[in-house]
Symmetry: C2
Subunit: 322 residues, 2 copies
Amino acid sequence: MYIPTFDDVKTAHERVKPWIHRTPVLTSSYFDDRTGAELFFKCENFQKAGAFKVRGASNAVFGLSRDKAKYGVATHSSGNHALSLSYAAGKRGITATVVMPRTAPDAKKDAVRGYGGMVRECEPSTAAREAMLNDVVDETGADFVHPYNDHRVIAGQGTCSLELHEDAGPLDAVVAPIGGGGMISGTCLTMSALSPQTKVYAAEPQNADDVYRSLREGRIIEDDAPQTIADGLKVSLRPRTWHFVSNYVADVLLVSEEEIAEAMYLVWQRMKIVIEPSSAVAVAAILKNRDLFAAKRVGVIVTGGNVDLTKLPWMQGLGVPK
Amino acid sequence: MYIPTFDDVKTAHERVKPWIHRTPVLTSSYFDDRTGAELFFKCENFQKAGAFKVRGASNAVFGLSRDKAKYGVATHSSGNHALSLSYAAGKRGITATVVMPRTAPDAKKDAVRGYGGMVRECEPSTAAREAMLNDVVDETGADFVHPYNDHRVIAGQGTCSLELHEDAGPLDAVVAPIGGGGMISGTCLTMSALSPQTKVYAAEPQNADDVYRSLREGRIIEDDAPQTIADGLKVSLRPRTWHFVSNYVADVLLVSEEEIAEAMYLVWQRMKIVIEPSSAVAVAAILKNRDLFAAKRVGVIVTGGNVDLTKLPWMQGLGVPK
């Protein structure tokens, strides 16, 4: 199992630069007042395809040799990784095949197609998904790019905190949401090299607390179909991300669904930016743990802004501040 | 009637700089593709108090002599001008009194109080509003800062396109929404001095088309209680803004409620920024008039981002693209 190094992050940054945005780092006097901290929001909601995932996907796609690239790439995902891989493949002029459960919303399938990806529908089970992905790879020779358990993807995600560190200066802490652990692993990789005194915190929904439990038990625990509005965070750790999480993450901070929704509402209302529920998990964790972050310089990874505007948490009464 | 000059805009810019954000100018490959134009979005939704109005309000407040300032300022408004005047007065440490109809939503009254303004409630009629404002001025000696029919306010709003011109470079056109005409007047003032070849277009809701009709008839026509989701644009021209509109505006572009809502939805979805319906009027006008703007460099004034997140147009089925 190859574990990427900070050199891989630097190589990735040069490789992906032409295909991604250098996203801004925003500040907010409202959130600084609320938390007592100095917060630096790295806004990957403004990223190409709407999320940080394009960093890892582009690193994988543009790192392929010409011989290998011509067979295309493939993945299973119904979220931001699927969009990002389709975007990157389109930019390189190769095919991206995305295996998605036939039960996934049409909007998600259409979004992948909108970025030029080919959708292959499977039955909604892990076994069916893996079987179809194997079929695709066998048929086409495509390179499988896992959403996070892939050293190229982790190195790509590490470019995000590289930019954050350059733009915000030395930080006492970085907080990012955790699902499968790709962003957190890249953050650990970069911060351990550039700024070892910076603590990396993973923010996780209470309703999908597999990482929290994994760290306490010292082994990967998988959630069984967790229910959370942070739909990008339902997946579980894999060996490459467990490596970084178990060795480097300072702590896992849990937040409730109501806390996620309220943090999301406040960011939209006060900062005037559209962030997805998964990103709000990090903000909620900082609001909830004032003592941990007050008087500190804290980076916040706003992972993405892909959200269904017709299905917002507060349309169901969740998250509107009293 | 004093008509402000570009020198007043430059003076205003130096005066208000410490109290406002230099807001970013964003671009969007999606909207460039859709319109065939090169668009530069001046993002006043990120401005202090959430809208461009803080420019004019701060210019008025910080331009007062110390002797005059101690009596405070007053206005009538239930929108962004009320927030902005309260914000600016708070920064100068003086009182802002805001006359609002007692029927205005509590959220708006609370927002004014949140910025430190004093709310005085009147009956919901123009006569009652003016009577109470006169009372306030008589009682306190406060300086009345009209939301737009005030040369200090117009000069302040002109600082917005000054920054846009500096950051985006020469433009073929600037499009801004029009209500009472404060922003459009400031834009005309600045562009006529800095870049006379730039055409200034006013974008207006069909449902509140008083400016469109005024220009065609050659005199100020007032709407009678117009109904539009662009609630910042319901007011009518006054002599100082009529001066600029009648002499300088290239054309008034009308858009429907559905077009406003759809433009707003698309900006949120694609650019990941929260803009208010009034701002979407300008975007809708560009989407609707492709032939006018294709292949041109076009500035778009995104006037503000103050919107009730629990009452979005698409919650009533308005504006979701097919």
